[in-house]
Symmetry: C2
Subunit: 627 residues, 2 copies
């Protein structure tokens, strides 16, 4: 069932077939990867009083020896009997349905089927959810539950009108009742009518494991082959990004060959938009949680420098910023002395290279200091000084900018100390430590940076955090939720444009008062409010930064202003401990604090509106950044 | 600080006093139990830039040797400096306030003060909550945080009007941000104007540890002594029920002696309404969680029988029901044979006694069987047969009604198998087991029973469940929340009248179908909806029963119809795992299932609207009742 690389994984729904082996052979021959089959023969029905209670697992069920266990496990998705209904008025018919449902689920587990398809056709699904959740809790098999929902549905009201149903609420109810269990995934049926674009976005934030396409939504093109409308094509393209699998269901039209549907999907897949540079770089990292770097506590590895030096955008922007700054300095300055430019945190030299290149363009002489606390990187810097920079005025300083005794004062300082959330790798504290050796009119590149947050819905990320928490059973469960994560957020719904949080400007103004301590100066708090575009679950907040390097030269990972192709930063994800259900138009507020002592910095955060959560990471108990 | 029996515990707020020892001596001489004192001398102030940042713990702070640690720990409640404000526009003034606040909290812990009074004066209290919560999380001292809030407040709006503030929302925000920690309790200030009765009910559901009375709200009576208005008196009487302590604050009026306030409160306390029979019985059990009885699995103890036999109401109602039933039987029956009456679950004989007494009143002959599975109780029954019932036709049967081979068929069966939630001690399953030996027109007393549920707000009960979960660290935290508890719910707010859940009628109709199993017949599901009367947190549901013994003779623990003075049952509390914040007018729905197998019965339940919780007790994983 695993999707093959460069190929769309597509199954076909064949209902009940007695001759399983030949059925599978012929479906595979038509290009399909798997088949969906009824677990029980639907023609053998029983009645119970007035109610049709269908047929149970028993003598007439297909025997397990019809296929090898490897085939059951990779080629067959089970379908529950259609007659099973838990919303009957007849108590005994319901009870019989429940019993049959559990028998079919057990039988699917017994066959080691990879998944069972379970159809939800109304908001009234609590009893179905209870049975499925109890089944998952009781058994230790690997069978997944594919919850089959339409992307939109209409209901006839009493007065003869049809009313459109919010089927996302069905899905949300079902999965929340089942505690967002990761064995519950979504089998989304694309209907002929599509909901508005905002509602479609909402589905794209969900774990769409399978996309179900009924043959009835296909059109026939001039050559007589099945095709989809533009709107459907557009949606399918977006679903490809989620690595969803597909299932074709319904009767084939006008004697069309089965294989034409699979071939058309494969055709669409091969013509999906090319991923951009950022997507290429991020491939394999989608929704994968990483702990943020602790560059002050840990030295970076050479390979890490190597990856980030390849960013095609960042150093071009730095060079442009330094060039403009040097040009401005040359205009106002009457001095003949070379401009003192210090690279604070030089790593393996990319900013030194950008500075030297900018100076050449500006036809300005600079005296360059490259300060780097990682002694390993200084080996590379010294080599560069003896080779590449032999004709330049570059001094390599192996040491921490916060304690270095500079021999001269700086005209320009250049640094790249930003984390995904701007200040979260302690750029403010580092640059404050350099304040001792700046000329009064010293310019800092970057000049300022601002962090941003946006509320997001993403069961995928929430489950990842929960899984991270389960790795260390000695820590309380909440620890994993009190940590922000660097992550290429992918399967999510951003519920609002992000809003600015904390701003730092450099060189920083001196503190107002002599008694004042640096750690007070860099503490911050902010409350941000967002209005919800639709009914939704909020699972956390995505964090970004926007950084002004010099005047209008900036780098940014805020979605609306993202520097195109710059891949050095993935967003930072702040989880919430309990997802929050909100209705369209409801307001949510996050309150976030940046707290500092002389030895560490941390964030605390909470959904402060609606107010039913506890503050996360109180006193930095689960996560701090060391100075 | 512990409240003395039969005495109101009352403290006095004296602000800052240099001469602590004599201050305390004189306050105690005036009848007060403790004093509230400023931690830091408020006259020694500092300024910070423009802002007043007050004085910090330091040389001028009162030294610890002024009192013994026993006195600090029992007689003094600390007050934070008034100038501390975390909502200043000035970042540095806020930072200085934060530092001073933490210093004062640390100093209070150092002195082992039993409590610190912390004033909240707006909804904008997130930063204060953060500091208090971080402090509690970091330290292991026992100091409680008394969060001082007014019962009502007005705010002047921009256009010159005053708008009433919902101060309960301040409290709710503060305690939720602090994770409802049990070191956070409420110091409720009674204001001159009281809010409407519904809002007052809301406060009575909160952990009101202390009631603060400003001398300004007192009136002066004809004799020149301080008294409270009728409305205030009424409120104070209700607060006495919560065992709240009191604090008098403000300047004494017209040279009135300090002690007169304490004397007046003591006077009110001595004239509080007498507790009724039920309250007397429940004394000491308030909000104390008990696991429901498992009478089928475990045999009751003699002392348990003894307590419940003393119920002044239950057996009177049973006797009346039996009397009416015998009278009706006598009217329609032409037979001369005695009426066969079987007591199913006879215990130590109270229902046999009621039956014999009813038969005497009805002048009817009965043949009585007393069936009891607890062999220890049968010893008592046999003794009664030989002594008290020597002239009666009573047969003692030591055995389980579900397997007993009855020698005759019953005209009437009488049983008392109900739990707090009606069917939760498996009365339906037991009586179904007796169906084999009933005449076709057999009458069951009770004839039917219905369970009821109501949503409640009670931080107290929620914290008790959480504490119960912490007792066994080997079990997952959720286990304690997947168990219903028998409890005298006391410090709570019932948010709506209760609604009926499951009904059982006896003798039960035969199942429709031969294939049918008893365990299907007694399974049930229900969804109940409630509209909220105010903004609130729902912490769980209280469960009750209403039972029709015969025709209009009933027993009930549903609040609206509670049989007066009947004390045999406390309510059943169904917790929710995550408290749910709801606004006035919002709807909440609970879906609850009664599930059965051949060996056990259990409930599963969930807040199904708004839908953001997982089903509790799936498959009976945490709690079942054995058959």
């Amino acid at each position: 069932m695993a999707a093959k690389a460069n190929h769309v994984s597509c199954g076909i729904d064949l209902g009940f077939r007695a001759d399983i082996e030949s059925t599978i052979d012929s479906a595979c021959g038509e290009g399909y990867d798997f088949v969906c089959l009824d677990i029980v023969n639907p023609e053998k029905k029983q009645t119970f009083g007035e109610a049709d209670v269908g047929h149970k697992v028993g003598d007439d069920t297909r025997p397990d020896f019809m296929l090898g266990s490897q085939e059951w496990n990779t080629l067959v998705v089970g379908k529950l009997s259609d007659w099973i209904s838990l919303n009957s008025e007849n108590h005994y018919a319901n009870a019989a349905s429940e019993e049959a449902l559990l028998q079919e689920l057990h039988f699917a587990s017994y066959l080691s089927l990879p998944a069972v398809m379970i159809r939800v056709d109304s908001y009234d699904c609590a009893n179905l959810a209870r049975l499925v959740y109890s089944h998952i809790m009781k058994s230790h098999h690997a069978t997944n539950m594919w919850i089959h929902m339409p992307v939109s549905a209409n209901k006839d009201t009493a007065d003869g009108e049809t009313k459109s149903q919010n089927t996302w609420m069905w899905w949300n109810k079902f999965r929340m009742l089942c505690n967002q269990h990761n064995k519950i995934s979504l089998a989304l049926e694309i209907t002929e009518d599509l909901p508005d674009p905002e509602s479609l976005k909402q589905w794209l934030g969900e774990p769409v494991r399978v996309v179900i396409l009924n043959t009835s939504i296909f059109l026939t093109n001039k050559k007589g082959f099945p095709v989809l409308s533009r709107a459907h094509q557009h949606l399918i393209m977006q679903l490809f990004r989620l690595n969803s699998q597909f299932v074709i269901t319904g009767v084939t039209k006008d004697g069309m060959a089965l294989k034409t549907y699979q071939q058309y999907l494969e055709h669409l897949y091969q013509h999906r938009p090319c991923p951009d540079q950022y997507d290429m770089f991020a491939k394999g990292y989608e929704d994968y949680l990483q702990s943020p770097l602790q560059p002050l506590m840990d030295n970076l590895e050479s390979a890490t420098y190597e990856v980030f030096e390849k960013d095609p955008v960042k150093y071009r922007c730095y060079e442009e910023a330094i060039f403009r700054c040097l040009a401005d300095k040359a205009t106002v300055s009457l001095e003949k002395d070379p401009i003192v430019l210090m690279v604070l945190g030089a790593g393996r030299g990319p900013l030194v290279r950008a500075a030297l290149s900018a100076a050449k363009r500006a036809e300005t002489k600079i005296k360059c200091f490259a300060v780097e606390k990682n002694a390993n990187a200084c080996v590379t810097l010294n080599l560069l000084k003896r080779t590449e920079w032999v004709d330049e005025d570059v001094t390599i300083v192996s040491g921490d900018m916060r304690v270095w005794e500079a021999p001269v004062l700086a005209d320009i300082i250049v640094s790249e100390l930003l984390g995904s959330f701007g200040d979260n790798e302690l750029s403010p504290e580092c640059l404050d430590g350099a304040a001792r050796f700046l000329k009064p009119d010293c310019i800092s590149i970057p000049a300022s940076y601002t962090s941003y947050l946006a509320p997001i819905s993403s069961q995928k990320l929430y489950n990842e955090v929960e899984a991270a928490g389960a790795l260390d059973p000695d820590k309380p469960k909440i620890t994993a939720f009190e940590t922000p994560y660097v992550v290429r957020i992918h399967n999510y719904h951003e519920l609002s444009p992000s809003k600015p949080v904390f701003t730092f400007t450099h060189p920083a103004e001196k503190a107002e008062n002599e008694n004042d301590k640096t750690h007070l100066k860099n503490s911050r708090q902010a409350e941000l409010r967002f209005s919800m575009p639709c009914d939704t679950m909020v699972h956390g907040f995505s964090g970004y930064f926007h950084c002004t390097l010099y005047k209008d030269v900036y780098i940014s990972i805020v979605p609306e202003t993202h520097s195109p192709g710059m891949f050095s930063w993935f967003p930072l994800f702040f989880p919430v401990f309990k997802p929050v259900l909100l209705k369209q138009g409801d307001e949510i507020a996050i309150t976030i604090w940046r707290q500092c002592t002389n030895s560490k910095v941390w964030y605390e955060w909470v959904i402060s509106e609606p107010c039913n959560s506890a503050i996360l990471n109180p006193g930095g108990r689960s996560y701090t950044i060391g100075l």
